[in-house]
Symmetry: C2
Subunit: 279 residues, 2 copies
């Protein structure tokens, strides 16, 4: 069951609200909250190689979460990731790279780890790198994940909003996840837990977006430029909020185009990250 | 978020080996084991109606697990299920109907249940009806589910074999799940737990099918006609076993066609059961 190369796909993931939970190990550390996984995602091709290399959209560069995964799998491989998603803008590209690299490397090198074990590795890599707390477990699940308990398997637990929808987004650029997560997060987490409780009482797509919007405002994470887009969508009768964490507005249906924006359209993705057929 | 009608899809599910675990409640009762979810599945359309009705492939009939779900959701709806899978032959059609009905009814009637809550209802319906113990939680997950702990959320827990593959099957007809589950299952369960332990040590597709084959033989569930097909596939260099529970042989890749059989081809399905877009 080993090949020279394998390709995996991880959906994008936009978090709407979250709370931060630090624990004694990276596997138990994570976030609670909710988000949308997206059909626009990250494709990761892994090939046996004499020297390790990692590239995203044609550029080699530091990808500490991927390095963590490759170290754990004792892998000498080249990792080539491609995505149409904006990078650093709240779409879980780093988590998708780590997860895709874990799945494809496991296959190429015949490491015979289980899916939960690979998800745990990618999650640990993100936590250690400070690049994310909840994207990986969400991207491993697909749909509209509710992160009920923080952390990787077997610690974390997930539920979901049973829904499918067109999703639009407009991204104005990067916002550093590491900077926000390194700051004081107590008030942010309290707001995130209120939103989570409310969503679990009535897990619908509309409530998810509305509670996300309230969270973005309460925590002062909503930047003026994104706030203006979100306001325009709501005024036009739509539902929108801000991707956590990026200068990005997302909306259900045609919310952003109805409000006059030149938005990118995608959909909620039904599946979690997987190996792709072929090769 | 309510409509007049909604459609859901649940993948088929072939169990390779299992152990039976009875507990005080239907949600805690279930099976451990492993199987393949299949792109050939069950499509369930639910529409508001004055009188409740349930049909499969154009025929109205008893579907006790679906009735359980509709009772729990207080639903007056018509449920129209369609599948290309053989019915009663070990593909999880009853579980797929219950799960699809839960997802679609929840949407049509605006019941605002979470995905885990809907999975639990469908699982409880199957357990109460005696028509299945593990299909629903597997069909809700997709991929190659390993049922690590029995029961519905939040009791059960799942892992998976990270793999994708073409799957073939030949079905010779029905075999009553209820009859087997009503009999003595201690020896069967011991064999199932041995297979589970072995697969968790090395979760690959090949080991899954080999352990399934050993399970089918050890438990005397392997019928002579299916045994003969399985032997032919193995002799031709392939991997095959018997669907639990149906007069059905399944094989990886082109195993059955390579052995000269006129098999149906499908694939491992990446996603769990979902609402479909449109209407």
């Amino acid at each position: 069951m080993t090949d020279e190369a394998a390709t995996a796909f991880a959906p994008g993931h936009v978090t709407g609200f979250f709370s931060v939970h630090r624990a004694g190990t990276p596997a138990k550390t994570g976030s609670r909250g909710a988000g949308l996984t997206l059909a626009d995602g990250v494709t990761v091709r892994v090939e046996r190689a004499e020297e390790r290399s990692v590239a995203l959209n044609g550029h080699e560069g530091a990808a500490p979460a991927v390095e963590y995964v490759l170290d754990a799998l004792d892998a000498s491989v080249s990792v080539v990731a491609e995505t149409a998603l904006p990078v650093g803008a709240g779409f879980g590209v780093s988590g998708g790279m780590a997860l895709g690299a874990a799945l494809a490397t496991n296959h190429v090198l015949g490491r015979a780890r289980s899916e939960n074990a690979l998800v745990r590795l990618a999650h640990e890599g993100e936590v250690e790198a400070g690049t994310g707390l909840g994207d990986v477990v969400a991207q491993a699940r697909g749909g509209v994940p509710i992160r009920v308990e923080p952390g990787a398997p077997p610690h974390g637990s997930l539920d979901g909003v049973p829904a499918t929808a067109r999703v639009e987004y407009v991204s104005l650029g990067e916002l550093s996840t590491a900077d926000v997560l390194a700051g004081a997060t107590d008030d942010l987490s309290a707001a995130g837990l209120r939103a989570l409780e409310s969503l679990r009482e009535r897990p619908t797509l509309r409530r998810f977006v509305r509670r996300s919007r309230r969270f973005a405002r309460e925590t002062d994470l909503l930047t003026p430029a994104v706030a203006s887009m979100v306001d325009d969508v709501v005024e036009a009768g739509g539902e929108a909020s801000m991707a956590m964490l990026g200068h990005t507005a997302f909306a259900l249906g045609h919310g952003l185009t109805d409000a006059g924006y030149d938005a990118t359209a995608t959909r909620i993705h039904h599946a979690g990250a997987t190996l792709l057929d072929g090769e």
